[in-house]
């Protein structure tokens, strides 16, 4: 048989490619459930890390099963909210049927105007205190960057953060994940929901004592800008929710102020709505 004829070459390559495609498709389908379980456990471990429930070195040693068990044990509730901050539905947190909002990319389009977003809120229990973990998602330099930011019970302070990426440059952009000192900076910072910029990652260093800004990573300007945009876009979408959380705690403390949208002034007054996100109550 002449193996150099055109017809033979075309038929041969076609058959080879079809066989290879069939093998790969079969393997990919067979392994998909295992891979999804790995990704799910990883997502949860990132949230646990952000919420400071498990330290990073312990987390690396935990297998998928113990990560899921730890999640079910420490999570209080998880739910989806819409852009108004109203609860849409609960997410299942039972061990064995844990439900996560893993369609961050789709929600990112929705936040930017493609539709009504369903934003996840994960509420963890840490020694009786509530920890709110919110995701962020955006574009880095080479691919998506995402992360989880954990707030304290009235969302006034960030207690921790975790960031990940799909393909940022090792040693530069990848430091958002690999460099613990970058993540550590977020601890104790707060988000300015009244301002135009909620949070800033500042190239050349955040001003001394700034509450809503951290230092960017040298040599990773594009990644940091992407992460900055991701944080601001997503936290903007969470603004009504954050305002309610902050407002609720303010009325609890009864210092005579109220949140942006909340009508619940302490002592039954009404909100005058005049000065920024931190209005005074009329009595």
């Amino acid at each position: 048989m002449n193996t150099n004829s055109n017809i033979y070459t075309v038929i041969y390559t076609t058959i080879i490619v079809v066989i290879v495609a069939a093998v790969l498709a079969f393997v990919a389908m067979t392994l998909k459930p295992l891979q999804d379980a790995n990704i799910k456990a990883e997502t949860i471990s990132q949230m646990l890390s952000a919420a400071q429930l498990v330290n990073d070195s312990d987390l690396q040693k935990m297998d998928n099963k113990s990560v899921l068990a730890k999640y079910s044990e420490s999570v209080r509730t998880a739910f989806l909210i819409n852009s108004k901050g109203a609860k849409v539905r609960e997410l299942n947190t039972e061990d064995g049927s844990i439900e996560l909002a893993d369609n961050l990319k789709e929600q990112n389009y929705n936040i930017k105007g493609a539709g009504e977003p369903n934003l996840p809120v994960y509420v963890f229990d840490k020694a009786g205190e509530e920890i709110y973990v919110l995701p962020v998602y955006g574009a880095g330099l080479w691919g998506p960057v995402w992360g989880y930011i954990a707030f304290n019970d009235d969302c006034s302070k960030i207690v921790g953060a975790y960031f990940d990426h799909s393909g940022e440059t090792p040693g530069l952009g990848a430091k958002i994940k690999d460099e613990p000192s970058f993540r550590e900076q977020f601890k104790g910072k707060s988000v300015d929901i009244a301002g135009t910029k909620l949070f800033a990652i500042v190239k050349g260093g955040a001003p001394e004592g700034a509450t809503g800004a951290v230092d960017a990573i040298a040599g990773a300007t594009m990644t940091c800008n992407g992460l900055d945009a991701a944080i601001n876009t997503w936290l903007s979408a969470y603004k009504p929710f954050l305002a309610t959380q902050m407002g609720a705690s303010l009325s609890k403390e009864c210092d005579g102020s109220c949140g942006e949208n909340s009508g619940d002034c302490c002592g039954g007054g009404s909100c005058n709505g005049s000065c920024g996100g931190n209005h005074q109550c009329n009595r």
């Binding site: 193996t3 041969y12 392994l31 990883e42």
Partner: protein, 201 residues
């Protein structure tokens, strides 16, 4: 085992080592040798890919149209690499993330295509398989040696277990790629000192 086969098996491991003698596959050797575990998984992946793709190409060697033979080889190698990547993603997820793009880049590792072109196309399946595996082992051996020293002196650990006492301050230079090149240079030096016929006059 006859003499030819034995030679096929042993030559790539020391005398004709793909990294230290042929200087192939350097890029990944520098990148994945920070930790011993990563190096072991990478070595194993390369052994599987070189062995199986040499075997498959050798099985179909008489049917491959000569004009598109590189493409056909590439399809076979790509299939093996994707299979390895998918299996690692399912069973060794954290190691797969650590090795990131380098598993996918096995496809461009000159050792794989080099052995197929040089050996598998002209030999029977069994010797080709041995040749592929042996070259993978030769590659992996260097990787493991370099990673052993880099993890020991760079982190004070081996396979994640603390080996050196806490009083040892980890040398951060060892973790960076340049130091891998220096270690590799030392290996080449030692090999050339032992194997005099490699020295240029």
């Amino acid at each position: 085992m006859n003499k030819d086969l034995k030679n096929t098996l042993l030559n790539p491991i020391f005398k004709g080592n793909p990294i230290s003698v042929l200087v192939l596959g350097i890029c990944s050797a520098l990148a994945v040798t920070v930790q011993l575990k990563g190096a072991l998984v990478m070595a194993l992946s390369v052994i599987v890919v070189t062995g199986l793709s040499s075997l498959v190409v050798s099985l179909i060697r008489n049917t491959i149209p000569n004009r598109v033979r590189i493409i056909v080889q590439l399809v076979v190698v790509a299939m093996m690499v994707i299979l390895v990547d998918q299996i690692l993603k399912a069973y060794a997820y954290s190691t797969d993330k650590q090795l990131s793009v380098y598993i996918g880049l096995i496809i461009t590792n000159c050792i794989v295509m080099g052995r197929i072109e040089a050996f598998a196309l002209g030999n029977k399946p069994w010797p080709s398989f041995i040749d592929g595996v042996a070259n993978g082992v030769g590659y992996g051996l260097i990787l493991v040696i370099v990673a052993f020293f880099r993890e020991l002196f760079g982190s004070g650990t081996l396979l994640g277990f603390q080996i050196l006492p806490d009083s040892y301050v980890p040398n951060n230079l060892v973790i960076l790629p340049p130091m891998a090149l220096i270690f590799l240079g030392c290996i080449v030096w030692v090999q050339r000192a032992i194997q005099k016929d490699l020295q240029e006059k």
